[in-house]
């Protein structure tokens, strides 16, 4: 490093300011989750955490809030977890083979297939929600985990990231495999998948978060409280209704909603950072 240690005060000061900005909204949510509703409504709320964090969290977890008609947040967490895992695993499972096909073969319509996948990259579900819903209904996917996940598995992010990575696999490896008499299947299983481990781990993180954070689609495709995911649950808790807004439970739910994806990002940070940066570069 060029910089001498004495100049490290400024960077630390700026970084600490960054941490404060990042953590402050989460801290306030935590504090609100530790107070009672009257304490929150009696603005401005005290920033010293109160004693009710555990009881509020437990109430949200097992009883839900009035505005969600008592769907417990624990159930929402389960639904979100199933949805996020199914999306992450499903996307990897369909996009790795398709990227492999596009990169390691020459066949008619290859470019067309690639572009067909590619243009879906950023077509958000919001702009095609009504027709997609009708199709989901035609296929009897309403109120099922399949309905929650299948339409979201169809996106190009993972295919593109795998493609970028596959393009960097040295030709020598392919030639060596061919000389050894290995066919495309063997090469895929024995060489490409093991080499892609970091990318798979990184993608898992990205897609898990993508899945966890969905809400417009789940809102439409499920119509029973038992299928509510946590992000929709949050929306219902603050949405217009005829009951009071229970901020202490909403903030407890927010903390619960943030925890799993944050844990995934933090615990898998090493692969995530490496994979994300390398793949998208």
């Amino acid at each position: 490093m060029v910089s001498a240690p004495r100049s490290a005060i400024v960077p630390h000061a700026i970084l600490i300011a960054g941490l404060v900005i990042v953590l402050f909204p989460i801290f306030v949510a935590f504090v609100a989750a530790s107070h009672t509703l009257p304490e929150i409504l009696n603005a401005p709320m005290s920033l010293v955490p109160g004693p009710h964090f555990l009881s509020n969290t437990i109430e949200a977890l097992y009883a839900g809030t009035v505005k969600t008609s008592g769907t417990p947040v624990a159930r929402m967490l389960f639904n979100s977890a199933v949805m996020a895992l199914a999306i992450a695993i499903g996307k990897i499972a369909i996009s790795l083979p398709s990227a492999y096909a596009v990169v390691f073969f020459r066949f008619p319509l290859r470019r067309t297939c690639f572009w067909a996948i590619f243009v879906t990259l950023m077509l958000p579900v919001e702009v095609r929600i009504m027709p997609t819903y009708r199709i989901a209904a035609d296929l009897s996917l309403i109120n099922s985990y399949a309905g929650l996940t299948l339409p979201l598995i169809a996106s190009a992010t993972a295919t593109l990231l795998f493609r970028q990575f596959f393009l960097t696999i040295p030709d020598e490896l392919v030639e060596a495999a061919k000389i050894d008499g290995a066919g495309p299947w063997r090469f895929l299983v024995d060489t490409v998948v093991p080499l892609s481990k970091t990318n798979i781990a990184a993608l898992f993180v990205i897609l898990f978060i993508y899945g966890w954070n969905q809400y417009l689609w789940p809102l439409l495709v499920t119509d029973t409280p038992a299928m509510t995911t946590i992000v929709i649950g949050m929306r219902q808790m603050i949405g217009n209704g005829d009951a009071e807004t229970e901020w202490q439970l909403i903030m407890a739910t927010a903390i619960l909603a943030i925890l799993p994806p944050t844990a995934v990002v933090v615990l898998m940070q090493r692969w995530f950072v490496k994979g994300l940066v390398e793949a998208e570069k």
């Binding site: 509703l37 969600t68 895992l85 695993i89 819903y133 209904a137 809102l219 119509d223 409280p225 009071e244």
Partner: protein, 438 residues
């Protein structure tokens, strides 16, 4: 580890894909937008009905906000997956009505099913809103309320005002709001549901037309006229009060309630159904009174109008399902169910008998203020201006009007310019609705 996780997911997916299994009684889905106490009551009503007989099973499903519930029902209808019963908010009435074939009118449903059904047993102030111009009931009123004024007695005391003397007129309201501010209360008054309280109920209460063809009840060719001098003057007064801080706008729907709940605002104009919320959440004493009026407007006060939602029956179901729905509606209209609904939720009863029974039980004496809504609704026999309103695309129109009111309150536009703009955009939507549904 990884494989067990995967197995768990796969198991969950397959379990979900297997779907629901056999059900003996005919299942009737009831989609609604009610939460909290109201949601609990809905579940209880359905459970009680299901226990009372074995042929039908009503399944209440919470679908989110009113807008989300309506959209979901329409999307479901288009996908051939509609529920039997859906709760639709007042502003969606014209859209549902225009959808001939997609809905089953209640009067027809009851006749087909051979259920005894006497339209005269219902409260006209409530059913009028959901009937054709010749009085045929299209949807069953379910949760109805009207706009009233709540005032915080402790705030009044704090500002040195008589806590038992709420304002009667608008000039008094503005004057009291100023005094509240001067006496150290953060805001004089606020209003929830700004379009519904300040335009729709304001117009009915002053017997002013909101649009031609009897506020649109007469047909889809109606033209909005909410830019009339009386409404404009009122909006200008509100904007003036917003500027000096005696009125404090805090959002289009229920957001302002938190400013009343924490004692910041001395008065709020809100739905009569918010009573329970304030009773539970407000630490101070509070009272309920009728909406204020301008004494110089001839005929005011007239009567206020309802808001809320009604139950629509979707089209394309079997005769057996309709029979079940009709039976359920009869059950829903019965006196004990109605009385309990009214007393627990603060929504209005829909039958005259339920109103009388509640009164006889002494409920209104024990809970002062709870009858204000009914008295206000039945203040005078409704006129063409005060029966209700029914405009197509009303969801957007009410948002447009709220948007323009926001511009006027923020001082960005004059009251006149704001209302002219609202009417121009609103009429364009009306014409679009007319073209699309013909």
């Amino acid at each position: 580890m990884r494989s067990t996780m995967l197995a768990a997911v796969m198991a969950a997916v397959f379990m979900a894909m297997a779907g629901p299994t056999e059900a003996q009684p005919i299942e009737l889905q009831w989609w609604h937008a009610m939460t909290a106490v109201n949601g609990d009551r809905i579940n209880q009503i359905a459970a009680d009905f299901n226990k009372s007989q074995s042929e039908y099973k009503v399944v209440p499903v919470f679908k989110g906000s009113y807008a989300e519930t309506m959209t979901a029902a329409i999307a479901a209808y288009r996908a051939g997956h509609a529920p039997a019963i859906v709760q639709i908010y007042d502003v969606g009435t014209a859209t549902m009505m225009a959808a001939k074939g997609a809905i089953k009118p209640v009067y027809q449903l009851m006749a087909d099913a051979g259920e005894t059904f006497d339209p005269n047993s219902y409260l006209p102030a409530v059913t009028g809103y959901y009937s054709t111009s010749d009085g045929k009931l299209l949807s069953l009123p379910f949760n109805s309320s009207t706009a009233v004024v709540y005032w915080n007695k402790d705030d009044f005391k704090k500002a040195g005002l008589d806590p038992n003397k709420p304002p009667k007129t608008w000039p008094e309201t503005f004057a009291l709001a100023k005094k509240l501010r001067a006496g150290g209360v953060k805001c004089g008054f606020t209003t929830a549901w700004v379009f519904w309280t300040q335009i729709a109920n304001f117009s009915a209460w002053h017997n002013i037309s909101m649009g031609t063809l009897d506020n649109g009840i007469g047909g889809p060719g109606a033209v909005l006229e909410m830019n009339n001098p009386r409404v404009v003057r009122h909006v200008a007064n509100l904007a003036k009060a917003e500027k000096d801080g005696s009125f404090s706008y805090a959002g289009r729907s229920t957001e302002p309630e938190s400013s009343f709940l924490n004692g910041d605002c001395g008065m709020i104009q809100d739905s009569s159904a918010a009573y329970g919320l304030f009773k539970k959440g407000l630490k101070s004493q509070f009272g309920v009174t009728e909406l204020p009026y301008y004494p110089d407007v001839k005929g005011a006060p007239q009567n206020s109008i309802i808001g809320g939602a009604s139950l629509w029956v979707m089209g394309g179901k079997s005769a057996a399902e309709y029979k079940g729905v009709a039976k359920f509606f009869t059950y829903l209209s019965s006196i004990p169910v109605q009385v309990k609904w009214h007393e627990d939720t603060g929504y209005l009863p829909i039958t005259k008998a339920a109103y009388a029974a509640t009164k006889a039980s002494g409920f209104y004496d024990k809970n002062p203020g709870t009858e204000v809504a009914l008295l206000q609704l039945t203040h005078k026999p409704p006129t063409a201006n005060s029966r209700g309103y029914r405009f197509g695309n009303m969801v957007q129109i009410s948002d447009i009007i709220a948007e323009d009111l926001e511009s006027a309150f923020a001082g960005k536009e004059s009251a006149k310019a704001a209302m002219d703009d609202a009417i121009r955009r609103g009429n364009a939507l009306l014409r679009q609705f007319q073209a699309n549904t013909q």
